[in-house]
C-alpha cells in the first residue's frame, strides 16, 4: 500500500467517524446539518485524491470535462421545462461507459459546477454526494445496465427518487435543525410532483440518450485508444 492509499483510508476510516463523534459529543447532537455536510464532503475527498494522484491520460481528463459540461449545459438547454433535467442521466451514462472514477467525479463535479453557475448553497455538498453516488452505482452495475434497457430505466427512476429522498432529509434538517419525521413526510408529500417529474425525466433521457451516447463514447474509446 502506497502513501496515497493510506491517506485515502485515513480520510474514510478516521476523519469521517471523528467528525460524527465530534458532532455527537461537542455539539450535543444538534448540528446534524453541518456534521452531515462535512461527512458528505469528506466522502468525496478520496475520489478527488485518487484522481489527483494517478497519471490519468489527458484524453480521459478532457472527456470527463466534456461530460461535466453536458450535464450542466443540459440545465440551461432544458430550462423551459422545470425540474426536467438531464444531469442524472448524463452522470449515469458517464458511470456506465467511463468507469467508476469518472462516474463518481462526473456526478460530484456536476454539482460543484452547477453551484459555480447557479449559486453555491448549503445543498451543494449533498448534491455532490448524491450525484457522485449515482455515478458510482451505475458504474458498478454497468455490465447489467448496458444490456438491459428496462433495468436502465428502472435504475434512472429509482435514482431520481433516492436523490429526492436524500435532499428532502437535508431540507428537513435545514429547516428544523434536527431530523423531524413529520416534517420529512410533509416535505416528501409536497415534493411528490417534482420528484415524479424528476424521475420521469431521468427515465426519458436515459431511454433516449443512453444507447446513442454510449455508442459514441465506445466509438471514441476505440478510435483514439482510451
Amino acid at each position: 500500500m502506497n502513501k496515497k492509499n493510506i491517506a485515502k483510508y485515513i480520510v474514510l476510516l478516521v476523519l469521517v467517524p471523528l467528525v460524527v463523534l465530534l458532532g455527537a459529543v461537542a455539539f450535543d447532537d444538534k448540528k446534524y446539518i453541518f456534521v452531515s455536510a462535512c461527512v458528505a464532503v469528506l466522502s468525496c475527498v478520496p475520489f478527488f485524491m485518487s484522481f489527483e494522484g494517478k497519471k490519468t491520460s489527458t484524453k480521459r481528463l478532457v472527456l470527463l470535462a466534456v461530460m461535466l459540461s453536458f450535464s450542466v449545459a443540459g440545465r440551461y438547454i432544458f430550462a423551459f421545462l422545470p425540474h426536467f433535467k438531464p444531469v442524472t442521466a448524463i452522470v449515469v451514462i458517464a458511470g456506465i461507459y467511463l468507469g467508476t472514477e469518472s462516474g463518481f467525479l462526473c456526478g460530484a463535479l456536476s454539482a460543484l459546477v452547477s453551484g459555480f453557475i447557479f449559486g453555491l448553497g448549503p445543498w451543494t455538498p449533498f448534491q455532490m454526494f448524491a450525484w457522485g453516488l449515482i455515478g458510482l452505482l451505475s458504474s458498478l452495475l454497468s455490465e447489467f445496465l448496458k444490456k438491459n434497457k428496462i433495468a436502465l430505466c428502472v435504475f434512472g427512476a429509482v435514482s431520481g427518487v433516492l436523490y429526492s429522498l436524500l435532499l428532502d432529509i437535508v431540507s428537513t434538517m435545514w429547516y428544523d435543525g434536527v431530523f423531524n419525521p413529520s416534517r420529512y413526510l410533509a416535505l416528501f408529500v409536497t415534493a411528490l410532483p417534482v420528484t415524479a417529474v424528476y424521475a420521469a425525466s431521468n427515465v426519458i433521457f436515459l431511454f433516449l440518450l443512453a444507447t446513442p451516447m454510449g455508442k459514441k463514447l465506445e466509438r471514441i474509446k476505440i478510435k483514439y485508444g482510451l
Binding site: 484522481f51 478532457v62 459546477v113 459555480f116 416534517r183
Partner: protein
C-alpha cells in the same frame, strides 16, 4: 451593477474564502438571536448595496415567503415548550416553538444570503485559483468544463437552426419537442466528443503531461489583503472565544432563556456584528471614497 464593481470582491481569494468560511460557520452553529440577526442584517445590507433594485425585488420575493414558511411551520411540527398558546388537533402550539421557528427562519435566510454573497464575490476564476493549489488536475477539469458550457450552448443554437432550416424540427407536441431536442443533443455529443479528443491531443503536444508545471494565478496578496485577513482572524477569534465560553448560549426549550447581556457577551456580539457587516462597511467606504475623489476633479 456589474460583478466586477463589487469592491469587496477585489480581495485575494484566500482572504475571501476564509472570511465567508468563518461567517457561515458561526451562523450555522449559533442559536443566539442577536448573532443571527446581525448575520441577517449583514447579508441583507450587502445584497442591497451590490445588487440592482430589480434583483433586490426578486430576492425579496424569494426570501420573504421562505422566512414565513419556515417560521410559521415550526409550531406545527414541534410541540415542545412550556407556554401553549392554543391547541390545534389536540396538539399544543407553543410560544417557544413559534419563536424558535422565527429564529430558525432568520438563520436559514441569513445563510442563504451569505451563500448568495459568496457566489457573487467568488467568481469561478477565484475558486479555481484556490482549488488549483490543492488539486491542479481537478481545477483543470473544472475550468475546462466551465469553458465548454458556453461553447456547447452556442453550438446547440447552431445545430437547432440547421435542423429547423432542414425541416427536421417538430415542436407541435411535448414528445415531438423532446425527440427533436434529443436529436440535436445527439449531434452535439458527437461534435463535442470529437473536438475534446482534438483538445487533448493539442494539450499533450504542448507538454501538458510533462512534470514540473505550476498553477497559474493572477491574484496577488497585497497589504490590504493582509489587513483584511488580520481583521477577520481577530474578530473570529473573539467571537469563537465568546461562543466557547458560553456567552452566546441560547435555548428555546423548555423555556426561552434570556439574552445574555454581561460585558463579555456584548463584546462577542460586537465582534460578530462587525464581522457580519464587514463587506457592507467596506462597500460603503469605497463608494464614499469614489464620490470624494470624483468631487475633487
Amino acid at each position: 451593477m456589474n460583478r466586477n464593481d463589487i469592491a469587496f470582491a477585489r480581495f485575494h481569494p484566500t482572504v475571501l474564502f476564509f472570511y465567508f468560511f468563518c461567517l457561515i460557520l458561526f451562523t450555522v452553529f449559533t442559536q443566539n438571536p442577536v448573532l443571527l440577526l446581525s448575520a441577517l442584517c449583514g447579508g441583507i445590507l450587502f445584497c442591497a448595496v451590490t445588487n440592482t433594485a430589480k434583483k433586490n425585488l426578486a430576492a425579496a420575493k424569494l426570501y420573504v415567503p421562505m422566512f414565513l414558511l419556515v417560521s410559521m411551520t415550526n409550531p406545527i411540527f414541534s410541540h415542545s415548550g412550556a407556554t401553549p398558546l392554543f391547541f390545534m388537533n389536540d396538539n399544543p402550539v407553543t410560544l417557544e416553538a413559534l419563536l424558535c421557528g422565527v429564529d430558525l427562519a432568520v438563520q436559514v435566510c441569513a445563510v442563504m444570503l451569505i451563500c448568495g454573497a459568496f457566489s457573487r464575490v467568488m467568481e469561478s476564476d477565484k475558486l479555481l485559483a484556490l482549488f488549483g493549489k490543492l488539486s491542479p488536475r481537478l481545477a483543470t477539469v473544472l475550468s475546462m468544463a466551465l469553458r465548454f458550457i458556453p461553447l456547447l450552448k452556442r453550438k446547440w443554437g447552431e445545430i437547432c437552426e440547421a435542423q429547423r432550416a432542414l425541416g427536421y424540427f417538430r415542436e407541435e407536441s411535448f414528445f415531438d419537442r423532446i425527440a427533436s431536442y434529443a436529436r440535436v443533443f445527439s449531434a452535439l455529443v458527437t461534435w463535442a466528443l470529437e473536438s475534446s479528443v482534438d483538445t487533448a491531443a493539442s494539450m499533450s503536444a504542448r507538454g501538458y503531461e510533462l512534470a514540473g508545471k505550476k498553477h497559474f494565478s493572477l491574484f496577488r496578496f497585497t497589504r490590504g489583503d493582509g489587513i483584511m485577513l488580520a481583521l477577520t482572524t481577530a474578530l473570529s477569534a473573539v467571537t469563537l472565544f465568546g461562543i466557547l465560553l458560553g456567552k452566546a448560549d441560547f435555548d428555546f426549550y423548555p423555556r426561552i432563556s434570556e439574552i445574555n447581556t454581561d460585558i463579555f457577551a456584548i463584546i462577542t456580539y460586537a465582534a460578530f456584528g462587525t464581522l457580519a457587516l464587514l463587506p457592507f462597511i467596506f462597500e460603503v467606504k469605497e463608494a464614499l471614497k469614489w464620490k470624494y475623489l470624483r468631487s475633487k476633479i
